[in-house]
Symmetry: C2
Subunit: 348 residues, 2 copies
Amino acid sequence: MAKLTILGAGYMGSALAVVAAGRGHQVRLWGTWLDDELVGPAMRGEPHPRLKMELPAGIEIFSSEGLAAALAGAEAVVCAVNSDGVEPVFERATEHLPPGGPILSVTKGFLPDSGGRIRRVSEVVRERFLLPAGRDRPWVAIAGPCKAMEVARGVPTAVVYAAADLAVAESCARWLEDDHYTITRTDDLAGAEACSAFKNAYATASGLCDGLQLAGHPEMYNTKAMMFAQAIAEIARMGAALGGRPATAYGQAGVGDLHVTAAAGRNRTYGERVGRGEVPGEAAEAMRAVGELTEGYPALRTGWLLLSQMAGPGELDMADFPLLAALHEVVYEGADVARILAGLRMRD
Amino acid sequence: MAKLTILGAGYMGSALAVVAAGRGHQVRLWGTWLDDELVGPAMRGEPHPRLKMELPAGIEIFSSEGLAAALAGAEAVVCAVNSDGVEPVFERATEHLPPGGPILSVTKGFLPDSGGRIRRVSEVVRERFLLPAGRDRPWVAIAGPCKAMEVARGVPTAVVYAAADLAVAESCARWLEDDHYTITRTDDLAGAEACSAFKNAYATASGLCDGLQLAGHPEMYNTKAMMFAQAIAEIARMGAALGGRPATAYGQAGVGDLHVTAAAGRNRTYGERVGRGEVPGEAAEAMRAVGELTEGYPALRTGWLLLSQMAGPGELDMADFPLLAALHEVVYEGADVARILAGLRMRD
């Protein structure tokens, strides 16, 4: 039995608390200052407002002011805030991190480092918070197709734990694996992070097709499938350019996660709204206003910046990313969806 | 302009006739003895009963007794019958094949050769018909995500033309490629055929989840995505064992085609019926009775036989195909769907 502290009491943090409690661990679930309306009911034993189920009795729940207490003596810390929240949370949490134990992260995306370069979440958190405080920790990225509602309910799920040191991924996986939450271990941290971040951007593509169809266009399953396969090719290339392995994109972290994200979830919904004709920026704002942050919207921007930053003679060729270019054109450059999709030329 | 003869006037044969006519070729579309009710209306200029649209005026249409005339002088022949029909058609067609030109095939699946071993369609047709008649031809397998209804309507589609000799794939692609039907060329014929055949078998998995959900089970997007990624891994392994390259499965031929097949189509529907509780053999029979042959049903069987035939010490390990094993258990061994899915353990 281990002591695990989970930072972030939204969908995924709470779902992982359920998994960890089910494995008999001592679980502490800390809600950020944005999670008050989630943590309150959970503390009173009422159903978690997002997961729509009661959390197991053993889970200790902390509201935002209890950060130090929540982290005291933790053997591992799970980072389950969204990409917007990861910096403010580590700003406050770093000084309370107990020594040694790993950080497991479901936070995904790319962020600017202190020099303004776009980098992976693990790199930015280490560079900006952990290393300056002398508190560097092994980082385990959790990737793969995993909707929180289903994990919390024991629906068969396969995820990937990725750490630079395979032994760290292995020990974390042994803590949390159960019959319905199976875990592949890999040392391809860069590849796994690339998959998790980019899948949100590419999942909007499926939504665009759905939206066009709702707006009266003919069915376009062929186009949707073509874009799905092309997305995998582009994610694999990007992962390799970041130091990862293409194979990671071809497994659960890439193909699996893109599948679930493109089939169900906010990023698909966001694409659908744009496909139906909403102005991309306004659709993102409207969703954010009702608490439905679509990480694909910023991920398309940071992904594009990352690509531009890596492209050049002898390096990445922008022409190998026609789908990312098309999505960026639609979402950030005001291009017409139907025209862009009709003009897509894929490279296999 | 080339003279192309298409064998089979169902969905895909007719759709390719539309594409070829659009590129200005001289197109002859031959219907088998099972296609009479499709060919009749098309000959009278009425909408094609499957495609629900009129065929372009230039297409010359032949009913089954016009086989010799349809093939006379053809520079290339497109085989667009289903896997049940390919042997009886080549039994009649081989003697009329004009010399030299390639055979493009959308027919997919595995068939027993004259020794009873399960092999790829191209191998069986060559071994049983073309070689004995001294009429061997270059074979081009057409793979990738391609619903006929959408191709015929110019919806953006990306396919793969695969031939042992890349130059043959290239020349066929140049004949048929247009702005909305883009073609990747590859020399991985074995890999492409493996993808086309197995995707029908694996697409039933998505349907099983849908069916369970309709029968009252909770949502299982995680499981569906896990099985999708696992299917790609198994198809890639199988393709490699057949002499192909795994990369083919990771592109449009594998990921793309499985996506469209699992999202829409008869094999998904078949899985859904089984997931809802129908007896697998009866569901297949009921669909066949209304003209909805599900190629996934026989493909699961032949795929399983093929795997068994290739497995052994130092060769393929059956344990690397847990999803195919699970699907075979459900569809051919009477196992309970929900129990099997809950017990799935994937290998990434």
